[in-house]
């Protein structure tokens, strides 16, 4: 095993999560908080941890329908996250717009602006569904590393 491969294996242990609230109603954010903080679900078993800075993140969780007001800020944040990153759209709003789909102030679906990898539909998705989505994102992230 070469040094690079060994380094990859070491680095692939703990993907850190970063949340971008792109105009969400907070329902999905509450579920994301529940996923991490309540011992019943506990996403940290998978080695994930929420981090405060986008520069430490590996997996981006985007909630909300991407309002026009927050678009520029979200794009700036997204560019600060180092590659390889995996984007997870949490909730129905970022995937298709959901009930906000044809609003003038909403830029949903977000895959027009961000390269989305995993979608987790639900309004809001239950914590187990989010964990399932994060597990899929980790698999994609391991391939990209």
């Amino acid at each position: 095993m070469s040094v690079v491969e060994r380094l990859k294996n070491v680095a692939a242990r703990s993907p850190w999560l970063y949340r971008i609230n792109a105009g969400s109603c907070n329902g999905c954010d509450v579920e994301l908080a529940t996923t991490a903080l309540i011992p019943r679900y506990d996403v940290e078993r998978l080695g994930c941890q929420y981090c405060g800075s986008p520069r430490h993140a590996d997996i981006v969780l985007i909630t909300g329908p991407l309002t026009r007001h927050v678009l520029a800020a979200a794009q700036r944040l997204f560019e600060e996250i180092p590659d390889p990153k995996v984007t997870v759209a949490v909730g129905v709003c970022p995937i298709s717009g959901g009930i906000f789909r044809e609003s003038y102030s909403v830029c949903a679906p977000i895959d027009q602006y961000f390269p989305v990898d995993v979608n987790v539909p639900g309004c809001p998705p239950r914590p187990q569904a989010i964990i399932e989505g994060i597990a899929k994102a980790i698999a994609i992230w391991r391939q990209r590393l």
Binding site: V92, I99, P121
Partner: protein
């Protein structure tokens, strides 16, 4: 003493964390998850399409009949379609395993087809929907229901009228 009882209880019960990604997770019985559609019992009233707040349900006329499509990536799982459906042919299951990769985005659709049929009396082409039963007094017997199912809307109306007279 309290910590001892807690300690023994925790030893007995094991960890509180659900082992979900590595083992199946418990799901509540009435969980509102993935939409299921039964084309056989559908009356074709399209009420679910009208009441759907997120526009997830769409009916479309095709040469084969009428298709039902529910896209789960825009459905908000509110259950309004099930509430308004007169026959409960649109319903919610407790399946919540909906996360998917981006290339599967437009594949997450519940699809159904109400086919065309030839009317048993006049021979016209019409949809093979279930006959409406809400305002039928006295209610249909099983044979009458099957008879009405084989008719086109006009012949169903005639059949209902003749039933009322007799």
């Amino acid at each position: 003493m309290n910590f001892l009882s807690l300690f023994t209880r925790n030893l007995r019960q094991g960890p509180y964390t659900e082992p979900f990604p590595f083992a199946p997770a418990p799901t509540p019985k009435r969980f509102r998850g993935r939409i299921a559609f039964d084309a056989k019992s559908c009356e074709g009233c399209r009420l679910c399409e009208k009441v759907c707040p997120s526009g997830a349900i769409r009916f479309e006329r095709t040469p084969e009949g009428m298709t039902f499509d529910c896209w789960h990536d825009t459905c908000v799982f509110c259950g309004t379609c099930e509430f308004y459906c007169p026959t409960k042919s649109v319903g919610q299951t407790d399946d919540w395993h909906l996360s998917h990769a981006q290339d599967q985005k437009f594949a997450l659709v519940e699809h159904g087809l109400i086919p065309n049929q030839i009317c048993a009396e006049c021979g016209a082409k019409a949809l093979a929907t279930a006959p409406m039963t809400a305002n039928v007094r006295p209610p249909y017997s099983a044979e009458e229901f099957e008879h009405a199912r084989a008719l086109c809307p006009k012949c169903r109306a005639k059949f209902l009228k003749s039933r009322r007279k007799s």
